[in-house]
């Protein structure tokens, strides 16, 4: 349900109607930004938002994105260590 895709706000097109231009991987579409304005609509330029049916529904929190990625990365490192340990054990066992 609810296809949503990250896009970056590149211009304000109609401040009164709260409309802005979003760039999604090189495709541009005018979107409504009523749900993500914090104070000044112009401050949205450059912001990453989650777009659903022509509406920016959330600002993407870059810190949280980085945190999630770090957690995934840490899992990977832990896994590499486990793999290395297992590899070492096998090497030891294989010795005559």
């Amino acid at each position: 349900m609810c296809l949503g895709i990250p896009g970056q706000i590149v211009a304000i097109t109609d401040a009164a109607r709260m409309m802005a231009l979003a760039d999604i991987s090189g495709v541009r579409r005018e979107v409504n930004v009523a749900c993500v304005i914090e104070d000044d609509i112009a401050a949205l330029i450059g912001a990453w938002v989650l777009i659903h049916v022509g509406f920016a529904m959330a600002r993407i929190d870059e810190d949280e994105a980085a945190k999630t990625l770090r957690a995934l990365h840490d899992l990977g490192e832990a896994q590499d260590e486990l793999d290395a340990m297992a590899e070492g054990r096998r090497a030891l066992e294989a010795q005559p």
Binding site: M1, C2, P6, D61, E62, E77
Partner: protein, 379 residues
Amino acid sequence: MKHVTEFRDPVAARAVLSRIAETTEAIGATREKPLHIMEICGGHTHAIFRYGLDKLVHDGIEFIHGPGCPVCVLPMARVDECVEIAERPEVIMTTFGDAMRVPGTRKSLMQAKAAGADIRMVYSPLDALELARRNPGREVVFFGLGFETTTPSTALAIQQAAREGLANFSVFCNHITVPEPIRALLDDPHMVLDGFIGPGHVSMVIGTHAYDFIARDCGKPIVVAGFEPLDLLQALLMVLEQIRDGRAAVENQYARVVPEHGNPASLAAIADVYERRPSFEWRGLGEIDASGLRIRPAYAAFDAEEKFGIGYAAGPRSVPEPEGCACGQVMTGRIKPTACPQFGTGCTPEMPLGALMVSSEGACAAYWQYGGARAAEPA
């Protein structure tokens, strides 16, 4: 694509997958006695099949595909009513592409269009508003579908129409909510679910507290997840860790998009324009209390049900599901799509009998399209 590509990294997936396998084994789940994890959201169902996640995870995990596809749970009576409105000569019916092929008792919107109704696919309710501005002599109706993610968009469109005095715009409202059917599922004594993956985009609107009852009252873990494959795997791992540790909490894997308390502007727009119906019919699940929204009297001028005297405004009417259709049992996780006697014979994507075969988020269509039915072995 920023915020997308990095969550599709197959190398990072290896570590999560092996951690999932370890945790599943620590819990003691096996192929014969699997853990049943429901992904509530149809978008998650789609992603699971698109990336082949069901075949990548430990075989002690079984995904149960939940009711979170608004097209799949739309009752036939509402499709019939939409067709009825669309067939009026003054009407331009606008809809998301998803709804075009959903069968009604007489016809689908696609068939109604072929028979002469003016039905147009749009990407956004904003496009329907624009059509209304450009066609002042016509009635432009938007087929409002979807859960809390989509509801703010039609609410804002109605508010905009009211500001502009756009009298020829209205919404045929079929918006529904996520928590109520989940409560109904959990109240069902036959239901055996061990945990939930929560809908990410619904939650960006309503926040995560709407699911507190799942953990607190029902003792089941739920983790709100994003839609990229790594998001889903990480959320699954978080659910498994809760099960292993004997915990039940609401957790948020998708914090980059989902704030704890949701989006205040969206919630305000919903509250301004919509109110709860006493109950709403779900295909396969029946009437569920307080699970649907209708347009408030203050915005009655933009309510297609009022304008055309149709639907719940004219008194509820239910249409029985087609003979032999087991969508309800599939949606509640009682049977797999392939166990439905109609699957692949009486019901195919070419000639869908039930809604789960129509939407690409429907479990049956996903099974069919991505070969869950026909190919047990990965390529």
